[in-house]
């Protein structure tokens, strides 16, 4: 037997007895009308929803429903986040340089006078503690050399070789993120001129690839790249890689973040 595709329609059911042409037309018109009215109302509801969304009061530069969704996405991302999950690393030879952004770097600045101010975690009632560090304090910590991909929120990416101290090693030697058996939830990092500032979850800050970085692509950091010390965290977009660290603070409230205030995702994590 020849096997051919069956393109035929199966036999049609009989027309209901006594259904006249006019009845069929009326039935069709009625169903069409109902369907198009429902469709039209749904479309209007969609337009209404759009206008409602765009007229909501803003929360950090974006209508609040968007901020809620971004934060929910961030929480989901943090729930899935594992410290052991590492950003891919690459051969050092693949590293390149691209300079982007100088907010927080505009003031003249003498590297030799630089000190990193760290405001220790002080839960309500506890006395404030501030400790200062020199670049040699940071360089005394174990030296980490890694080549990871820097992803700009604009959509481009480059591989960069970073050298620095693990943020987690820093905290191990100087336990400033904990007090009375409790750990801070967030880390705030601010430039000396306070023009640029980022916030991180503590879990991201202590990720093994989050560095207090002082060398880039085999050279000490240049001014444009944040000399003498910058933040590197390949689990976040470039906007969180703050250049020229001035102050670090361990807090329970979500810290201000320069780009989040402009409507961007506070988490901006990968």
């Amino acid at each position: 037997m020849e096997t051919r595709p069956d393109y035929s329609a199966p036999p049609l059911p009989e027309s209901p007895a006594g259904l006249l042409e006019a009845d069929v037309a009326r039935q069709a018109a009625g169903r069409s009308r109902r369907a198009f009215i429902v469709g039209g109302l749904a479309a209007l509801a969609g337009v209404g929803g759009w206008r409602w969304l765009l007229t909501r009061p803003t929360d950090d530069g974006t209508p609040w429903p968007f901020r809620r969704v971004l934060d929910a996405n961030g929480r989901l991302s943090q729930a899935y986040f594992r410290e052991a999950r590492l950003a891919p690393t690459f051969p050092k030879a693949m590293a390149t340089t691209r300079q982007n952004g100088n907010i927080g770097l505009e003031q003249s600045f003498v590297t030799a006078d630089w000190r990193m101010r760290v405001q220790a975690y002080a839960p309500a009632g506890a006395p404030a503690r501030v400790q200062e560090f020199t670049i040699d304090d940071i360089k005394a910590l174990p030296r980490v050399d890694m080549t990871t991909e820097l992803k700009c929120i604009e959509g481009w990416s480059i591989k960069v070789n970073w050298v620095g101290a693990r943020f987690s090693d820093f905290l191990e030697k100087y336990p400033l993120a904990t007090a009375g058996g409790r750990a801070a939830r967030y880390v705030s990092v601010v430039t000396p001129d306070e023009k640029y500032y980022v916030g991180l979850d503590l879990s991201n800050a202590v990720h093994p690839q989050t560095l207090l970085c002082y060398e880039m692509n085999g050279q000490p950091l240049t001014g444009a790249h944040g000399a003498p010390l910058r933040l590197v965290t390949p689990l976040k977009y470039g906007i969180k890689h703050l250049k020229r660290i001035g102050t670090i603070a361990f807090v329970d409230e979500r810290p201000a973040d320069f780009w989040a205030e402009q409507g961007y995702d506070w988490d901006s994590g990968h």
Binding site: D6, P10, S15, R31, G155, S157, P234
Partner: protein, 240 residues
């Protein structure tokens, strides 16, 4: 004498029409994001045939400097896009509609014949079935593209958490390019889809809104069962 015959189930119509504005907004917000690093072009060496996109295109659509807005829309609507897509696929599986949609070994030959017919290069009507071979391939392909957008999107949204996926897709830059190419694919699909809907006429369009189609009571003349064809007990299949 005309008869009124069911064509598209209510659920499929809702999934279809919800997908339309959601996907349109995903493409629009995707363009707001792409604007911030619009590096793709068609060309070789220093020769560029077409740049994605000319400045006039962005300006005409009011797109420059809206990266944050684009990301916020994109990462909110992604949920609706994925949920609607999963419900659609789940429904076709549970209801058995997938049988009309999934191409079989004859669909590819049939698709060529349908395409030749639609281009006026071949006489003879396409087969009288709910979806012809070309439609089966197109509608299945667009669902696979949706899955592709989800996977490439996840890879560029969370490239560290989904590093394995990013690696499978050829790295971060490739995943972004693939995500973009799939979007170009939707636009091409849309152009052909609209042209075909216009060609097919009102009766066909209405069936996607109201669910039914009007046919001659004797219809289809071509519907005499083929001798030896397996009996089918499903609802009637009709011309698109």
């Amino acid at each position: 004498m005309k008869r009124l015959v069911e064509k598209h189930p209510l659920a499929i119509r809702w999934f279809h029409w919800l997908n339309f504005p959601i996907l349109a907004l995903m493409i629009w917000s995707g363009l707001l994001i792409y604007w911030a690093n619009d590096v793709y072009r068609i060309g070789w060496g220093p020769t560029t045939l077409f740049k994605f996109f000319p400045d006039g295109f962005y300006k005409a659509l009011g797109m420059p400097q809206k990266l944050a807005q684009g990301m916020n829309w994109h990462f909110a609507l992604m949920w609706l896009f994925v949920i609607n897509g999963l419900l659609y696929v789940g429904y076709t599986l549970v209801s058995g509609e997938w049988r009309h949609l999934l191409p079989d070994r004859n669909s590819f030959r049939e698709a060529i014949l349908v395409t030749l017919h639609d281009l006026g290069l071949r006489k003879g009507e396409p087969p009288v079935v709910k979806y012809n071979g070309a439609q089966k391939i197109a509608y299945t392909a667009v669902v696979l593209m949706g899955a592709g957008s989800l996977l490439t999107g996840l890879a560029i949204y969370k490239p560290v958490q989904f590093a394995w996926l990013m690696g499978l897709l050829g790295g971060y830059e490739w995943a972004r390019a693939e995500h973009f190419i799939l979007t170009v694919g939707y636009v091409l699909f849309f152009v052909v889809h609209i042209a075909q809907v216009v060609r097919a006429g009102w009766n066909n369009f209405r069936s996607m809104v109201a669910g039914f189609q009007m046919v001659d009571a004797q219809h289809p003349a071509a519907g005499e069962p083929v001798a030896g064809a397996p009996a089918r007990s499903t609802t009637p299949t009709l011309p698109a």
